[in-house]
Subunit: 431 residues, 2 copies
């Protein structure tokens, strides 16, 4: 029976995991795919670098052509990450008649349309389960299951690094120490910037929204705010009010426009998302024909990633074996406009330092009222030296109105500091 | 472009849901499948029965031959339920070269091997997402995602009717009233027996275990105990001790043998499953390469079922369109023995009525100790008329040992009644 050879591009944590499991699960893979699957070649820039995996003599190459021009390689597993050279390699591989499995949410969020167009023209497969949520079968659920219902909302925690950091901060650890820990534990990219500034989550949100709403959403369409401004104090105060702070992705489709945003948010303790800790992901999917469905699991790490990738490899191998590649499509035209952030309706947590004198609170609340922001809760604590800390939690308000209110509040003589403005999500509708 | 015609067998709640959504989602279905999908024929015994759906003249037939012999029908959607005539229809349809989508966990749990053998021989598809967990993409996750890892445990709530009843009982409603409600709300089969005696959950457990562990598990292999012996008192006492009572399915694979059981169980309030209410399902999947992954959503109901079925129809239509039916296989040989129930290790909640006199408790604890059952907690309440109610929660114990202990306790002169013996699951390993 035909053996299907794959090439792994990049021998980082994930690439090595794939090589390991490819060997460890040989029988299972062959059984599932209907034919043996074998490692054909590995592309790695640094041939001499120390690895956790032993590769046979000559398996590793630093020349892409060796793989591109090898007709026995049928599937390319791209674990390099980043835009280039991954983008060029994938496009060339598809043109050369190879199918591709990629873990690269960066590339998909920015060049998804181009890549899937190329896959369609080549009638080859482009699978990407691991690009969002590791082994949590989220991409396949949106691409195959749930593909026939009108999904209205995706909301969840889709970045493990920031969830780990926020979890540790909630335990009293400082941001920088928590970040350092995450790096030591291999939970971040060499450069953690894309994690902490929300970009990685925004990429995933763009991919999920595109799949869920059948309308192209690009990275640039996703409002993005990271966790760098969140302090231990914010988390402690939120906690004392009955909320956790998470980096949240919210994608909505009301049939008129699409809302896509990633930012820190307060979540009520009663909401399941508030209990999602460490590097776990949890994604809620809602649809017109579907009440809330939830997916929960480990989104990052060597093994979950390797599993997600090898499941894709098996699916592609089945398709090659059955000669039906290119079945699944992911070229979604833009059918709905993106709702501008200033028009988004949400709730807010606003924390102020005010000079503790008569009338100050009245001025602030007057401004909020004038800007159509109605207050659900207020907590005032007088700090030493005549300074009052005031925390507001609002009802649903329009982002633009709230921003206007905040700048007016900032202009008040009695306002010493607008300490933090954090959105609030996951509040039961009736509240 | 070729239009793919389907026939729906049975116009019950689910069958009507499929017919409705087939029309409502026409465009989306065609887009996803790559070709138009159309209702070709409906099989229904009672042609004159009142329906929620309007069918064109001549669409409905009560003669199976009209469908079997119609070559334009490519996909059969079986929503009749039960063993016969569903089994015969599916076998004949596959032989006739039609692919099949079924929602029938009853049939799959007992005749899965035969049906999938037939599908393989005919090189046709047999999809069954809705047979377990409605629109929760669990079957596809186990069949396609997660298919390359060595799964070690599946544990969860996989019957919506009993979960609804237990939820209502927890709110103080009696069993019979809760059951009547479930029936009024269309949450049970005409005969609810299979739900409340655990048979429906056991069927699903057999299917899940077979898929997860790549080893055939039949309905007869699954230990089964329903909720009929659970009382409001049990639930209240469990609650006071910090537990909820759920009908739980537990399937384990330790590499030596497979454990498969369905029974009521106490779940600690800290465990996510204890919070799963009403008709919601939640299934935890664990694997050697995979820490806990969880799926949550509505398992029953017209729309979730229709979505699950139509997602399968789309997948099968893609396969027909691409001429690659029969890709996925589900004929799993028995590779591991089933662990006999008396060898299963779990924890227990034991509730006794004892004559309130000196030495009684000592006699009971002596028996438990002799049978290698060690006690984690004891609660004694003296009821009126010299009767003491004693509740034990044990550490991990072997089922056979516990059963032996209970019969010895029953034989004690001071034992007035063994009120209840309920297993305890979901306790953190370290406890």
């Amino acid at each position: 029976m035909e053996t299907i050879k794959i090439a792994v591009l990049g021998l980082g944590t994930v690439g090595q995991g794939v090589v390991m499991m490819l060997d460890a699960q040989k029988e299972l893979l062959a059984k599932e795919a209907g034919c043996p699957i074998e490692l054909g070649r590995v592309l790695e820039k640094y041939l001499t670098k120390k690895r956790d995996v032993q590769l046979p003599e000559g398996m590793c190459t630093n020349r892409w052509e060796d793989i591109l021009q090898d007709p026995s390689i049928r599937i390319i597993v791209e674990t390099i990450g980043g835009i280039e050279p991954a983008r060029t390699y994938i496009l060339q591989a598809l043109k050369a008649g190879k199918s591709v499995v990629t873990a690269n949410n960066d590339l998909l969020a920015e060049y998804g349309t181009e890549l899937f167009q190329a896959a369609r023209e080549a009638e080859r497969d482009l699978y990407f389960e691991n690009s969002v949520g590791g082994a949590i079968p989220l991409i396949r659920a949106l691409r195959q299951n749930l593909s026939v219902c009108r999904l209205t909302q995706i909301m969840g925690i889709i970045n493990g690094t920031t969830n780990y950091i926020l979890t540790r901060m909630g335990e009293g650890c400082g941001f920088h120490k928590a970040l350092a820990e995450a790096q030591e534990n291999g939970l971040t990219e060499p450069d953690p910037k894309a994690d902490i500034d929300g970009r990685d989550a925004a990429r995933s949100a763009a991919i999920l929204a595109t799949l869920a709403f059948h309308s192209q959403v690009h990275l640039a369409d996703v409002y993005m705010e990271g966790i760098t401004r969140i302090t231990g104090e914010d988390i402690a105060i939120a906690h004392s009010l009955g909320y956790a702070i998470k980096l949240l992705a919210v994608c909505r489709n009301d049939g008129v426009s699409i809302e896509a945003r990633v930012h820190p948010a307060l979540i009520p303790a009663a909401h399941p998302l508030s209990a999602v800790k460490d590097t776990y992901y949890a994604i809620f999917v809602k649809g017109e024909e579907l009440s809330e469905t939830m997916f929960y699991g480990l989104g990052i790490g060597r093994l979950p990633s390797a599993i997600a990738i090898l499941d894709d490899v098996v699916a592609v191998a089945q398709n090659i074996h059955r000669n039906c590649q290119g079945r699944l499509n992911f070229v979604e035209p833009r059918t709905l406009p993106i709702l501008p952030m200033e028009k988004v309706r949400t709730r807010f947590f606003l924390r102020l330092l005010l000079t503790d004198e008569p009338g100050t609170l009245a001025d602030v609340t007057e401004i909020l009222g004038r800007c159509n922001v109605s207050i659900a809760r207020v907590h005032q604590t007088v700090l030493d030296k005549g300074v009052a800390e005031v925390v507001f939690i609002t009802h649903l308000a329009v982002e633009g109105d709230m921003q206007e209110a905040v700048s007016s509040i900032q202009a008040l003589p009695a306002t010493q500091k607008v300490v933090s403005l954090i959105r609030v999500e996951g509040v039961a509708e009736d509240s």
